[in-house]
Amino acid sequence: MIDRILYLLSEGIRGLLRTKITAIATIITIGITSSFVMISAQFGENLSQFVDIVRNQYELQIFFKENVDETKALNIISNLNELEEINSSRLITKDEAAKIFENEFGENIFDILNYNPLPYGSVVEISTDKNNSLDVNLLSKKILNIDGVDEVRFQGKLISVIERYYRFFFIFLTITSSLILFATIILISNTIRLTIYARKDLIKVLKLAGATNNFIKVPFLLEGIFEGILGSIIASLISFSTFELVNYFLSNFSNYTLDWSFQLNLILFFTIIFFSWIGSIRAVKKFL
């Protein structure tokens, strides 16, 4: 059994070497196209971290209606805390509001009006769960629906723009990655098909010598997987080098560096190999 496995493995490698030009062209093409997936995914991961940082700094300022007293204000706070998009909310009492007013405008509201007209309010931190992209406008509407809430203020445009681009990027990445992985299947499938045609003589000899269908198919499947592995290695090297290069340039004018995640790369590495295997199976099923 081991001898047979070793023979099939060696046949797979030899097959690759026998069709050098086609195999090299396929490996390089897989390497280049897959590197786009890897770089985009790594960039997406960095963008996701960046968005998390921005989200951590999201604060919504909520003003309650004038007739809201402390008991009702605490009720509103507990209602706010029930919203999954909200990480925490802090009550701003009328006195605290007056202090904030004094800090911002340099004058005490009592000195001007002899009473404190400022309402109760709240400062809300938004949840930073990176799996959920956040629609701040929608959250704002939800908060306004809570009884007693008068106004919600946030850096609406900036936050909305960041979230919109973030969502757009992930849709774009998903579509292009799917197309590239699909192209990998077609590419491997066509390469294996050409290899099968090129080795009609071998297939005939093997059949006449008593080889089972699986014995004939396995080297072709292995060839596709080897092409996927080598293509993935090239893609990983391109992705890693690109991030090293970008970090080198970034280091000239910023302390910020991009992370290159080994785990993410490993997942993509095996994903590409998996799709190469699917491509080989497709060719072998169709043409053998």
């Binding site: 001898d3 023979y7 026998r18 093997l206 006449l208 010598a209 008593g210 080889a211 014995f215």
Partner: protein
Amino acid sequence: MIHFKKVLFEFNNGSGIKDTSFNIESGEYVCIIGPTGAGKTTLLKLIYMDIFPQKGEVIVDKYNSKKIKNKEIANLRRNVGMVFQNPQLLNDRSVFENISIPLHIQGLGLKYIKNQVNEVLSKLGIEDKKNHFPNQCSGGEQQIISLARELVKNPIVILADEPTGNLDPASSLKVLRMLEEINNEGTAVLMATHNFTLVEDRGYQFMQIKEGEVTL
């Protein structure tokens, strides 16, 4: 060992094998004689179950054409040697590698394969060609290499379809002698040829085939 029972196999143009019955036992040497297109190759293909009878049955060893499964066809072919007019060698592999293919298929160990192939190479007198590639060998040598590739399996029968068709008289004679030697050691040989003069005086059993009809 090989039994044809009322076998019919017809191609669309009407050629093929018609209502044929015969038996070939272990160790026999049978020569199938007939003109080109008479059905010799069809008959051999029926034996190694590349095609199946439309009527009747072919039994080779324990395999019956009516009951055989795909996987069993592979097993049958591990016990049947096939030599063709074109040696069908792989030009990108050495002579040794060509001959060792059937043993790799059987999943045998490298040491055993090495010994077995060397033994066959020496038996057929082509040890010196071991590391050559087929296109570095003459036509006669290539046919002997193809014979070696079948012999290494220790087959119960060798089916030879016009094995001398592309060879000069001296090489043809050499191949015939080798087939005879193989037969002397107990392996049945079934050889198809249209060249009666080549085989007429060699004391073989003859089976004549003409327009698909077989006469012994």
